[in-house]
Subunit: 612 residues, 2 copies
Amino acid sequence: MLDLEFTIQEGKLYMLQTRVGKRTGIAAVKIAVDMVKEGLISKQEAVQRIGPDQLAQYLYPIFDSQEEARANPLGKGLPAGPGAAAGKIALTPDRAVDMKTAGNRVILVRQETSPDDIHGMNASAGFLTARGGMTSHAAVVARQMGKVCVAGCEAVEVLDSQTVRVGTKTFREGEYVSINGSNGNVYEGDIPVVESEIIQVIQGKLDPKRSDKYQRFSTILAWADGFRKLRVRANADVPEQGRIARGFGAEGIGLCRTEHMFFAEDRTPIMQKMILARTKEEREKYLGQLLPLQKQDFVGLYREMQGFPVTIRLLDPPLHEFLPKREELMVEIAQLELTGCDRARLQEKRQLLARVEELHEFNPMLGLRGCRLGITMPEITRMQARAIMEAACELAKENKKIVPEIMIPLVGMVSEMKAQKDLVREVAQETMKRHNIKFSYLVGTMIELPRAAVTADLIAQEAEFFSFGTNDLTQTTFGFSRDDAAKFIDHYRTSHIMELDPFAVLDQEGVGSLMRQAIVAGQKTRPGIKLGICGEHGGDPSSVEFCHLLGLDYVSCSPYRVAIARLAAAHAALAEEHEKTTRKLPLRLTAKPRKAGHRGRRIPSSNARKTR
Amino acid sequence: MLDLEFTIQEGKLYMLQTRVGKRTGIAAVKIAVDMVKEGLISKQEAVQRIGPDQLAQYLYPIFDSQEEARANPLGKGLPAGPGAAAGKIALTPDRAVDMKTAGNRVILVRQETSPDDIHGMNASAGFLTARGGMTSHAAVVARQMGKVCVAGCEAVEVLDSQTVRVGTKTFREGEYVSINGSNGNVYEGDIPVVESEIIQVIQGKLDPKRSDKYQRFSTILAWADGFRKLRVRANADVPEQGRIARGFGAEGIGLCRTEHMFFAEDRTPIMQKMILARTKEEREKYLGQLLPLQKQDFVGLYREMQGFPVTIRLLDPPLHEFLPKREELMVEIAQLELTGCDRARLQEKRQLLARVEELHEFNPMLGLRGCRLGITMPEITRMQARAIMEAACELAKENKKIVPEIMIPLVGMVSEMKAQKDLVREVAQETMKRHNIKFSYLVGTMIELPRAAVTADLIAQEAEFFSFGTNDLTQTTFGFSRDDAAKFIDHYRTSHIMELDPFAVLDQEGVGSLMRQAIVAGQKTRPGIKLGICGEHGGDPSSVEFCHLLGLDYVSCSPYRVAIARLAAAHAALAEEHEKTTRKLPLRLTAKPRKAGHRGRRIPSSNARKTR
């Protein structure tokens, strides 16, 4: 589809210029699929003509374009969870739940979100936060849940528990706001939203045969699958997310974050009691209550994945994430002391604070988390290993094939890996013996610390697979906190210190160099070791291309990015093929892209030239 | 000096066995020096017979041994600042200052210390903390100031603002306690302390000619200097520390932390105003007030160092370290709200809290600090560069030789290095022009992030020297927070996950591997680039040996560890010589010591076999 410019002068036609016409992603797919059917281009050309990010337009609800054009933006934040959503403002997660229960569409507006807000986030159509970057809690959860999110919108100021200002306009809770998570705009009022047909099909609300859009979307992806070499998995924590991931064509789960199962409302109290327990025995009692719940989660996930691999990561976050906030307790205690009426409550809060103080850390990201939890409290690892294996036994008894992949987080030393692996193996053997059943399973690790990357040859002596946790690896390689860095990353980008946010687009020069070292060293010790990536980068096209060049086996990304990753993986394979045949460049690991500074420029691919 | 076992049987003498006799460090030096004088051993043998850590015994005050034997320990913490100290308990830094002013010896007892406590730490003979590891704030400051410190003593419980319990005994502020920072013991009462003669000489309180101990100490070190190849510098922030460093033979300052100059009582208020400033203009006003103070500090340091190099690091810590604590402000505000009497004060506190909230970070270690400050607020870098150059001009006018080395902290990308270097160069040229004077200076960087290590070839395009900041590099390589990791590092050591604290003894396998990469890459870009280390490891003998093998130009350590580093550097050179001649091992960078797990075993050195 081309724009043509021409003129007719003195009866003669002059063709002045022609260029590829601009089109939306949805139009691009339709044109490409139609042209293949008309025999004008090959399937490969069709696949190469669609930019992976263009597929995203299929997936998100969008505002009615005429209505949005009429609306006046009150402020602009980061487009952290694409799509469009409109609803009544809720300022706390509890009120979001109440408003949703009463039948409203809800937009949760917060200074920033935390794991405590999950129930409110679940109840909302979208989130709007005043603080936080592209990988803040709200942003990551939004992309994983497939919700709309505008994060770090400086125009937002929560005035009190009932009112919030956005730019020039002050809203009371319950008034309507509309957010566009694809461009970051925030509008007053209730702009009509058009739902994605693809999502409706995947959720079983629309017959795929009745959606031309879905048919074309699937066609392009099926063609893409014929070219790609990378497998594509999804990061999914609960069966529901697993089902959506399968709908998008995920070939397994690359990261199940087991802690997310504990944030459910009925489980947090047990988890809190477990953390507050003073003795191992007391801790084991509460872990025993969590065991059947966790087992059922895994059974559900395994079922959804129908034999595809499921990688389960053991408990990772610092424990105080499950407890009330320290400063809030301190304020509450100071207030109780002054009013002096409720002695029992004061006593209780003081005890809670004492434990929170014990767990308090100056830099929780670098503290007691990951495998450090499982090593200092082996009973947690034991419970989780048992839940994973019990669930696998249940499916094995139904003659369903299942190969659990158990992943130890935040390993920096082979001694940590060995200690946790020994523990997991012990529980696994014992569980299989008790059920009189045998099947294979893998115990591997995240590579998410620089030390793990540079000692990967040693770690591979114990680890049966590596999964690159590039979120954390980016944090420690740069010394950037995901939660805090947005402030100066923005400044760095405007002043051209760096061109791209390394939490969104993999830093090939620094983080990539450590990945490369880890792969070479790991393969030396354990030839053919299974390699994957499960950071947010697994869904970013240029990062997927890099992963292909590194020779990874799979990328794992948010369920909603699976289709994008499938297409990006096809592009990567085709681009490599093209370079091989035309330029004879050194390929794979030896092809080390290097540029001055962290510019993170995308590797030029043949398709980039063709589709732009 | 040997122990001999013999017997006489039926008039015949049987020599049964003999072994090297145990001796204190002080005795070891005396024996070695005497034996050289008697022509029994060579100077090299004498040097090799003294373990570097044995020299430490010369430097610290010790308890009267009979009195200590009689005393009953109430608890045991980490021996974080060696030596012995006794004094009256102060529970806040302000009271420590008051008690010291009233003529008392003071022991500051705290839950943990922070930069706000510096004035109280200065006034105290020693610190006792309930929390924190070998590299907690109290421990690091103690070793740098040469104060006694017992850190992380679990027996300590601060009960209220007036009382503290240590084990079974409850103390009121002002009662006597005695702490042994060499073994971690805490005693009741006032045990008499014997001062170090070496320190007395260096402080000018004792004529060196009147101290045999000092003579022998200097003799061994002079002999050691004849063998070593590494230069030894000191980490010193103020002229006083520089003088002590010179007394111990430091050949320059490897790290001057400029922020320590701002913690002085007359400067913190200006610093706070600078941070709270809303505009660049306002910030520049307060920076202008800090400029002459900072310049005078540098003049003092240069003078003390008598032409030796002085490496000055630009502002590094997160700014909220200079402000009141967030949770304390929140509590204060909650109290003011309830009592409701002081409206003006409430308003002021709320404004302060708002700014503190803006600066608040979840992981300050990975936040807005290091060169990120200088890049987002270039006026800070400008002020500091000007102070450094003005001071150098002043000395140059007196015809004193001075080569300032300006160090950019926390660089991860060459673009950061370039931006800061350009700024420094601009100010430097302008200052020299104004004073009509010209001299050379260097602009280099810390290598303290994994990304800096793996992209060192690029960073060396701009950086004129590298100084390995192994404290931070250990934090990011392991993903361990120095302030928080003590808890699980202790567990890791008792359960043999790791044998040594990587903050005390350099992790050659992981951190060392990154250092090696950085050196190879940096030298490739800039042959002969000056290389040093300025982390706490610069004063640890096995780490000094590793630095020698890496081919660094110098190590920089706490002033009180300079003598130890000098001896360790001699041992390293002699051991390498020995290996070269006897075993023909590959040497320097190619000698890559590798063991399974982070065991951090010391490189076997010939001397280790001889002196044990």
